[in-house]
């Protein structure tokens, strides 16, 4: 059983006990503990259940690579699933629960899957849930969804805040072990701006645990001195609890800083996302120990040898009283020695190498530890914890030589450099046969804008696992980073002298024992988190999943949070072996950022709630808000949809606004309307290319409705163009389209007709625009006075400039409602005053502000199209019966050639018509008109669809527009529109102009 040792623990403060809760139990650890070390110290080895088989699981590792000990952390607005106990710093009041079990961690019903595991092989889901098809929706999917996923999703909004931080530096060093510290010092001494980040709360990495010496000092002391030295350098920044999450194009990197995870509720942001642009990135990310593949290697109590050592040295925790060590390399002997020194029993070191190890092995033997050479653990025994191990020859098939009782097994299959950051942006790897590992290929680094490599791997992350070569490589990496940036490296000082025992070479072991049969292989885990075993990968290979990327997806090896940290090499080796090829031929799967999961909060940063995106406001917005308008988003604007009064519903408010406008006087804030000036000697020519109509013939003082298409012919925007003078046009665009239309103009001007003398200016926000609409609109303008608006001198589609009610105004006589109507544009700063003046002068006429819904209904009553309703990016003007607005005389306009293509000219294209329901009801938006028969997919054939549909208060019935096959030729025909609930609504094809067809109201 795991327990807290009476002494030891370099990271904990025994004077400061910390209380926390796990699955409701109140427990105590020490300041400096991780949740995992505290739980182990409390005798809690079982920390979760596995994903697929719900097998009991304890921690395998002591750091970021941990696959098993994932917990639900916190409560309420601070609840978060899938937090690694091994990287969660303990704090007072921490609350955690284990995942993937029901009803409890100790007794889990789903564990029956283990017994069924021979029926749940690789690809089980694909094989089992294929047919019959209807079962998928009603049976399989609900079942899989229920049993899938790791932790629970939070149910409350995140109580914390987060921030982004932009940073620029010459050299980013990721990893604060001895290699990262030394590389940072080399770069710092040369004067480079250096950022050094370390994902844990401590500098020094593994060196202090390994007990080696540097420059005659204990590694821990050397680390303290170099950190002090770095802290004194003004050009060097150091960040603990900050992980290098990803490396991207051209030296861009993300850092993930956990500021208050260990101090919940403290002031300031919880996480900070560093968005870094670095000249060079030194990855000193160390190496991760590999598990050994033997049967029962997932039983709680089996863990990495380095982790067992970490728990003892860092946190004063023993993982068991009798710890068997099994290895294929020398490093695990360090664990045996540490445990022995801590007073624990190490019954044996099982070394797969026939010749055994080097100096460390000799020290172990000298310490009285039994060393078994050329031997293997054939099988770990136990259920919820390890009880013993069956020992066999490594070379054999697993025949038992003896059984050793133990309550923990520390295993080491060698070390894999952490190459993730090197690989994120395309850095390639090469296979190192001697070390049995992939390491960065220095000739194929990720490249920057200048074509030079911008990532330099250093130390163990570069495949240099021995302390002496780690230090040499790191110093070189730091110096290289600055010299590649054009600086002069500081005069090389003496390389720190490493004192570490000579190590014998490792012996690659991919299966233990080598000849293990199916029974043992099907109990040997490769990927703990996803429950992938040696037998699964072999099965995948046998079934033809030979590509490593296919095998990964088929078996789920290395997916989820693992991302190849623990399972990668063992899985690749198993696949290679089964395929009878070599590991480098199989290759690796793609390493993708982030290195370990980062919070959604950190990704979102400040972009949340009101700061999610800026909201554009018209000069009259305050009035709308004070009036209690109901708003709808239009682009980045918020436009009043309607202005409900008293207890009115929105529908009632809209009807009232329409009645008032058609009956007397309505006012609309149209400031959001796009306004773009096009000016210059070639402006007429340019306008003729932009619009489908002839705009060059428009006279100053006149307006014309125009259509704008994209080069592939589709209608993209519409609006009224006013010619200001010979060289200047004012183009009105849709509210949402102003920016894209302006960009469209600029694109053509800059990239196609760059010799044309034209410039454009988007003046949308320079003007407030107000529509004054209804039979009394002329009267209210006359009351304001200053511009002659008489029917004779100011005709429909005229515009004029003048001083209206004391304000410089551009007045347009245009109508989107079919009423006598004007739009007045005034400087934005005068907008609110003019709005108030119109309300005052209009009081006697019952002036009624109306919103976008009334605007929409009134335009639909008149059969006017709306971009985004009648158009969807596949509709051409000809579909909408707008041929009258397409010039036949012009030889060219943007979209003209495309509209000549056979499909565009096809008479079978659906055309715009009005639709009138037989029963007067309102058609559902987007409903399809069905035709006889079924298509190749067995779906009902369709012959049209609804594009706009409203209740018209003017007509007292539902009205709609739609695109219908041969529509204009089928007036009076009745179509069937099935609703989602199966009921069918019948509608008659009619003319799309429902109201005042002759324009008598408009042209008064």
């Amino acid at each position: 059983m795991s327990t807290r040792l009476a002494r030891g623990g370099r990271l904990i403060d025994r004077a400061r006990p910390v209380e926390y809760r796990f699955n409701g139990r109140r427990l105590t650890g020490f300041a400096g503990d991780t949740l995992a070390s505290a739980l182990l110290g409390s005798g809690q080895m079982l920390m979760g259940r596995s994903f697929k088989y719900h097998r009991p699981r304890g921690p395998v590792a002591s750091g970021a690579e941990e696959p098993n000990a994932l917990v639900n952390l916190g409560e309420g607005g601070r609840f978060e699933p899938n937090q690694r106990a091994t990287t969660t710093e303990l704090f007072e009041g921490l609350t955690a629960t284990s995942q993937n079990h029901w009803p409890s961690l100790d007794y889990d019903v789903g564990a029956v899957n283990t017994a069924l595991s021979r029926f749940l092989p690789a690809g089980f889901y694909y094989k089992t849930f294929m047919s019959p098809r209807p079962f998928w929706k009603h049976l399989y999917e609900p079942f899989i969804r229920k049993s899938a996923g790791l932790g629970k999703a939070p149910t409350q909004p995140d109580a914390d805040r987060y921030e982004h931080f932009h940073h620029f530096c010459d050299v980013l060093v990721v990893g604060g072990g001895v290699a990262g510290l030394l590389a940072a010092r080399e770069a710092g001494r040369a004067g480079a701006r250096v950022l050094l980040m370390e994902q844990t709360a401590h500098w020094g990495g593994r060196a202090p645990v390994d007990g080696d010496r540097i420059d005659g000092q204990a590694a821990e002391d050397w680390v303290r001195h170099i950190v002090t030295e770095l802290e004194a350098m003004e050009n060097v920044q150091l960040r603990l609890r900050c992980m290098g999450a990803g490396v991207y194009d051209h030296g861009y990197a993300l850092g993930y800083e956990r500021l208050t995870d260990h101090l919940p509720g403290a002031d300031g942001p919880r996480h900070r996302l560093w968005r870094i642009r670095a000249g060079r990135i030194v990855t000193a990310t160390g190496a991760i120990e590999r598990p050994l593949s033997f049967a029962g290697n997932d039983i709680p109590g089996v863990m990495l040898a380095s982790a067992a050592r970490d728990y003892a040295v860092n946190w004063g925790v023993s993982v068991g009283d009798r710890v068997l060590v099994v290895t294929n390399n020398d490093d695990a002997y360090r664990t045996a020695l540490v445990l022995k020194e801590a007073g624990l029993d190490v019954p044996a070191v099982v070394d797969a190498r026939p010749e055994g190890g080097g100096e460390l092995a000799r020290r172990a033997e000298a310490a009285g530890i039994r060393v078994l050479k050329g031997k293997a653990v054939a099988k770990a025994k136990g259920g919820k914890h390890v009880t013993g191990a069956v020992i066999s020859s490594q070379a054999g098939e697993g025949a038992m030589l003896e059984e050793i009782a133990c309550d923990a097994i520390a295993m080491s299959g060698g070390w894999s450099p952490v190459v993730h950051l090197w690989s994120h942006c395309g850095g390639k790897l090469s296979w190192d046969e001697a070390g049995a590992m992939f390491r960065p290929d220095p000739d194929l680094p990720p490249t920057g804008a200048d074509g030079a490599g911008f990532v330099i791997a250093a130390g163990a992350a570069n495949g240099h696992l021995m302390l002496g070569e780690t230090l040499r490589d790191a110093a070189e990496a730091g110096a290289r980073a600055v010299s590649e940036l054009g600086a002069t490296p500081a005069s090389p000082g003496a390389l720190p002298a490493a004192e570490a025992p000579e190590e014998a070479p490792l012996f690659p072991v991919w299966m233990m024992p080598q000849g293990a049969g199916h029974e043992l292989r099907s109990k040997a885990w490769l990927d703990y988190q996803n429950d992938v075993k040696v037998s699964d990968v072999r099965l995948a290979a046998q079934e033809g999943y030979e590509s490593v990327e296919h095998a990964k997806r088929y078996t789920t090896l290395g997916m989820a949070t693992d991302q190849g940290k623990l399972s990668n090499i063992n899985g690749l080796a198993t696949l290679a072996q089964r395929l009878g090829t070599e590991i480098p031929k199989v290759g690796t799967t793609t390493f993708r950022p982030p290195y370990t999961p980062i919070s959604f909060g950190a990704i979102a940063g400040e972009a949340r709630g009101e700061t999610f995106q800026p909201i554009r406001r018209t000069p009259i917005q305050d009035w709308h808000e004070a009036r209690g308008a109901h708003f709808e988003p239009v682009g980045q604007w918020r436009r009043p949809y309607c202005y409900p009064q008293g207890g009115e519903t929105h529908g009632q408010a809209v009807a009232r606004e329409i009645d008032a406008t058609r009956g007397s006087l309505g006012l609309l804030d149209a400031s959001t309307l796009g306004k773009i000036l096009v000016s210059g000697p070639d402006a007429p020519r340019f306008m003729d290319m932009l619009y489908t109509n002839m705009m060059s013939t428009l006279k100053p003082g006149k307006c014309r409705y125009g259509l704008m298409c994209s080069e592939n012919g589709f209608l993209m925007d519409d609006g009224v163009v006013a010619r200001i003078d010979e060289q200047t046009f004012l183009c009105h665009t849709t509210s949402g389209g102003a920016d894209s239309v302006h960009a469209h103009m600029e694109e053509w001007l800059q990239t196609e007709w760059w010799d044309w003398k034209v410039h454009t200016a988007n003046v949308t926000e320079q003007y407030a625009q107000i529509a004054v609409v209804g039979p009394n609109s002329r009267k209210v303008l006359e009351k304001l006075g200053g511009i002659d608006v008489s029917a004779e001198s100011f005709r429909f589609m005229d515009w004029k400039e003048g001083v209206l009610g004391g304000v410089r105004t551009r007045l347009f006589r245009i109508s989107f409602s079919g009423e006598l109507s004007y739009e007045l544009a005034v400087p934005a700063s005068e907008g609110r005053a003019v709005w108030d003046a119109l309300l005052g002068a209009g009081e006697e006429f019952g002036a009624t502000p109306y919103g976008t819904e009334a605007l929409h209904v009134m335009r639909a009553e008149k059969g006017f199209i709306m971009i985004g309703d009648e158009t969807d990016g596949t509709v051409i003007p000809q579909d909408l019966g707008l041929d009258w607005a397409i010039s036949k005389k012009k030889t060219d306009y943007i979209g003209k050639r495309a509209q000549m293509r056979s499909h565009m000219a096809d008479p079978e294209r659906w055309k715009l018509v009005g639709l009138e329901t037989v029963d007067g009801s309102v058609l559902p938006d987007g409903a399809y008109a069905v035709a006889e028969g079924r298509n190749a997919n067995g779906q009902r054939k369709v012959q049209g669809r609804v594009t706009s549909t409203y209740h018209s208060p003017t007509l007292g019935r539902g009205i709609a527009m739609g695109l219908v096959l041969h529509g204009p030729d089928r007036m009076g025909e009745v179509l069937d529109f099935p609703k989602v609930d199966g009921e069918v609504v019948q509608a008659k094809i009619v003319d799309q102009i429902f109201f005042d067809k002759d324009g008598e109201k408009q042209n008064v």
Binding site: A449, E746, T751, E752, W754, D892, R897, A898
Partner: protein, 109 residues
């Protein structure tokens, strides 16, 4: 996230300041072109592993369109130049040749 230099205003900036505009040096085909020519102009694009010419706009800067010569695999940028040209200028071609001898792209080399 790329770094690009706008040849108009001279600013070297993050990709988020720019907006990509697809392949550069397309020749517009209007109403007098035949179906195949127009189809190719509208839809057919290069998709090279290696040297490529792209259009970019400095949207959150000077607003100008420009062209970039870039390697789609290594992300190396050989140079940027104003969009008011129908083919890459000589100094850009030389810069590419210096790094990728023997390159070719849509008949250019």
């Amino acid at each position: 996230m790329l770094i690009l230099t706008c040849p108009c205003c001279g600013v070297t900036a993050e990709e988020t300041e720019f907006h990509g505009g697809g392949e550069a040096h397309l020749t517009r085909h209007g109403p007098d072109s035949d179906d195949d020519q127009f189809h190719d102009y509208l839809f057919m694009r290069e998709n090279p592993r290696g040297v490529h010419f792209e259009r970019w706009r400095h949207v959150y800067g000077c607003g100008k369109w420009f062209h970039a010569a870039r390697d789609t695999v290594t992300l190396e940028v050989f140079g940027t130049y104003p969009a008011q040209t129908t083919e890459p200028p000589q100094h850009i071609r030389e810069a590419i040749s210096a790094r990728r001898p023997g390159w070719s792209w849509r008949g250019l080399s």
